[in-house]
Symmetry: C2
Subunit: 349 residues, 2 copies
Amino acid sequence: MKNEPTLQCPLPISAIDTIQLAHGAGGRQMRQLIERTFMPAFANPALSARHDAAVVELAGIRLAFTTDSYVVSPLFFPGGDIGKLAVCGTINDLAMSGARPSFLSAGFILEEGFPIVQLERVVASMRDAAVAADVQFVTGDTKVVDHGKADGMFINTAGIGLVPPLVQIAPRCVRPGDAIILSGDIGRHGIAVISVRQGLEFESTIVSDCAPLANPVARLLEAGIEIHCMRDLTRGGLASALIEIALDGDIGVEIVEEAVPVSEPVSGACELLGLDPMYVANEGRFVAFVPERDRERALKVLQGCDECWGATLIGHASSAESGQVVMRGALGTSRMLDLLSGDQLPRIC
Amino acid sequence: MKNEPTLQCPLPISAIDTIQLAHGAGGRQMRQLIERTFMPAFANPALSARHDAAVVELAGIRLAFTTDSYVVSPLFFPGGDIGKLAVCGTINDLAMSGARPSFLSAGFILEEGFPIVQLERVVASMRDAAVAADVQFVTGDTKVVDHGKADGMFINTAGIGLVPPLVQIAPRCVRPGDAIILSGDIGRHGIAVISVRQGLEFESTIVSDCAPLANPVARLLEAGIEIHCMRDLTRGGLASALIEIALDGDIGVEIVEEAVPVSEPVSGACELLGLDPMYVANEGRFVAFVPERDRERALKVLQGCDECWGATLIGHASSAESGQVVMRGALGTSRMLDLLSGDQLPRIC
């Protein structure tokens, strides 16, 4: 229900239509499901803002509120596990609205027969990630389903945080000419998970970028950077995040291919696996759209944060057609990025 | 992570211990899991209050925040479906803290191959229940897992609401002598679900009591009733809710068996199935602990609400040993109620 541009609906649902993996992949099919099934039922201004977290008003304060379920397979991967993911993912959705994350909920769905020692390992990860990000788990729930009716464990986390006064961060705030800053190299999380799942061994272990982003965002706001929009890169990768913002913000985007950092191991793995790093999942990277005048200061602030030392300018918002994301290549070529059809890497988060 | 009394821990977890259905059943094993695995990792004052919803302070306002995952099987049953359940259950957890429910999140975990028409039916139920209870879904998430890795669909809802100033509702506020009011007859939800699951046919269809309880709670507060504690009856039924409050509130409870309303069909079904209605799940009933002086007014307010016309006095808090719940029978006999071991009716919510 996040960041969903208006897409033309295909044929009406028939009795034989079923859910496919692609409906959860962050691409075209997911958007269609949301536009057709969820949005008409639940439409309201906060939901329709299509931001990572909803911003709502309650008793005169502005709250960010968000949720995500985590179904990553396998549960443990280089650089993290489902527990760390469940904390960082929800913190990052809050942070992307400019909120300071405060409280989390945890909902566990456990499969009968799941080893309790593994549950304890995941819970320890959640605790460590929550302590590091200064958020508290204040409420939770545990359900158990019969053996064979889940896949080890699924976790849902929801989160709330306070949005500072005057902060307005949303796709509709982006202006042509805004600088687009990417907080680091892309594709690590997707490749880290897929390499364990498929038993692949690369020369060096590729470690997920999974990290909480609340601190770098707070530093940007403290520095007085006028952030127009931010989005963390998850399912669907950098390309999908840019397309979503471009569609929802009714603007164009132009980026420079060579400016997008992809590490050598990730690039090699993508080639081997036939994946486009622009669409591979991340869990600790984000893009920020800021006025050109704030660009250098924003870069300096981010490069001073542990999680974002590799922050770099990758392009600008443009006055091109709404939703149009163009990537300029090294030889003057250019390529139009489109929402992915199908599911490149299922169950990546 | 709710309402968890301190229990003596059994032997330490070993590498071969696994999750059992009973760990999600709301009884003894769930409590042990929570005490041993979740509480030590996440301990903080809001969580330790062990109430249905956490009450937290943010920018000077008091927020209730809660979450539940729903894994009921089958998805559709007389009187409701997983969607209505997911709305009412979370609204009720908020209401039990005295909060006025405002915003909900929805997290869907869908199984590949699940019919989209069924998803649409569930979403329509969620919409109807949300409209009826005047709450909004403002954020959401959809994940899809491979065929055979879930059971149709699971839903998580989290919710937030405002707790009015001065309202203090918690087990620790219960005083010996407090009147205990039950909002209606018990056991309908559990029997409604199990009858569909097992293909049982009774003389009349038993319909789930699934309903939102925010309105009756608001009416009690408006009437100035001094509510010491409330709890909705879910997994584990009336008995578990009373034991939890007694343990957490460090008090005793005495109820009168004949005063607890059980409808003829539910009572007959329980006999047939070998179930004790005191432990059968409900989704639209709650108990309220109020000072004896407010008893008659509270009953009158509740009996004036559609959802609670059958509200009745069932007993009193006592100064007996902490956690001791005694049920007086018709012939002067008395029976001590204890937390259930094992899982009477798995996947009831």
